[in-house]
């Protein structure tokens, strides 16, 4: 699914200059627990939805090779986070929907889950 289609589906607003609408996003995930993202995200061009807007969401995306981030409930990250996003070339998007609603819209549109459900070795 193209990133520009994803923005349309969640009626989102792009917050960064870094944005390539043609970028292919192959899966998505949602979390406010960064360790969950680090533990469960599979490699690939994936999207993260989160209600947190601080630097560590971006760092987590960087380490997990996540391609784009959507903030839910209309949240706006502070300017240093926007700067870091440009440095890391990770596009940031905000949308007014709740996390549940935004995920539902994307899942219904056919964007698959990007993670393993639980760790089998625990």
């Amino acid at each position: 699914m193209k990133l520009k289609d994803i923005v349309d589906i969640v009626q989102g607003t792009v917050l960064t200059k870094t944005f390539n609408g043609e970028m292919e996003i192959s899966s998505g995930g949602a979390a406010d627990l960064m360790s969950d993202v680090l533990a469960f995200t599979r490699e690939g061009n994936s999207l993260l939805l989160s209600g947190l807007t601080h630097q560590q969401v971006l760092r987590t995306a960087e380490m997990s090779s996540i391609s784009a981030i959507i903030f839910v409930r209309g949240k706006q990250p502070p300017p240093p986070v926007l700067e870091l996003a440009e440095d890391l070339s990770i596009p940031l998007i905000t949308c007014v929907h709740s996390m549940y609603h935004a995920c539902g819209l994307l899942y219904k549109a056919g964007l698959p889950d990007n993670g393993v459900a639980a760790l089998m070795d625990q």
Binding site: N20, A31, L33, S35, G44, N45, Q56, M63, M120, Q122
Partner: protein
Amino acid sequence: MNKTSSEKKEINELTRVQELVYELRVSEVMTPRVITVSPESTMAELMSILRINRISGTPVVREGKLVGIISIEDLVKAYAARRGNDLVGNCMTRKVVAVRADELAVQAVNLFAQYGYGRLPVLDQYGTLAGILTGSDITRGLLRALSQRYHAEEIRRYRASHIFEDIDSADTTLMLRYHVAPRDFDNGGQASSKLKRTLQRLGANPALLRRVTISAYEAEMNLVIHATHGGEMIAEIGPHRILLRTEDDGPGIEKVEEVFNPGFTTAADWVRELGFGAGMGLSNIKRYSDNTYIESSPATGTRLYAIFKVSPIEADADETKG
């Protein structure tokens, strides 16, 4: 929907080309030496100029100033009307679409698309003719810029990835040391970010890179969150093994045997509100590394060791073990 690595690479290349189109200036891709013709030349003279230089059109210039443009099409029309001795000034197109040398190449691309012309005269800031631009000039310029950039990064990578072959010793280890400040949540992760970039240059394969950087990030955040005075994160990189370790001087962990149990945490509420401290960090590190060891006591602080084997076949393996 998963992309193969070659498809992924294609997408990356494409974005790089798109970036370049938005960076290249007309002056970098134009042909600066322009064959011109004076409006006082005859169409017969124009014909021999076009033929000798194997071009299909040329700007018309009077005393350095662009006054029109004339093409082979105008020549054919003139000959059809038996006006071979007429002057260029009477047959040329006077309303000329031109680009400025300091404009972006992408603006020229738009003009080509808009007007369907084969060439555009290029003017400098004083309106003097500075060059001429065709569609293939832009293509050639893009290819040149792309290959220069590609080579620069390739050379950097090549040099870095051969460091272990170039240094002759029984055992070569590259040691990277990062200081991690306590409670500095805004800047936490910078050390892991730098380590990731270094490992990329050293040619680490994506699966190993991911295992090491996620572990480093969890370990770094532990220092930010827990260590009284922050600590050090050290990566010892060898050709067959990476040892990642962190050191701090307190407060230390009382029940060190419990730390790898998922959910074990001593994190404060403010840490949890920021999305950390759920007791997953150390178990993540254990899962992503080949061997993990921790020693800690309230008297000495904490030392964490995580070992990653570097095997050449790992390139194709899944990113997680088990």
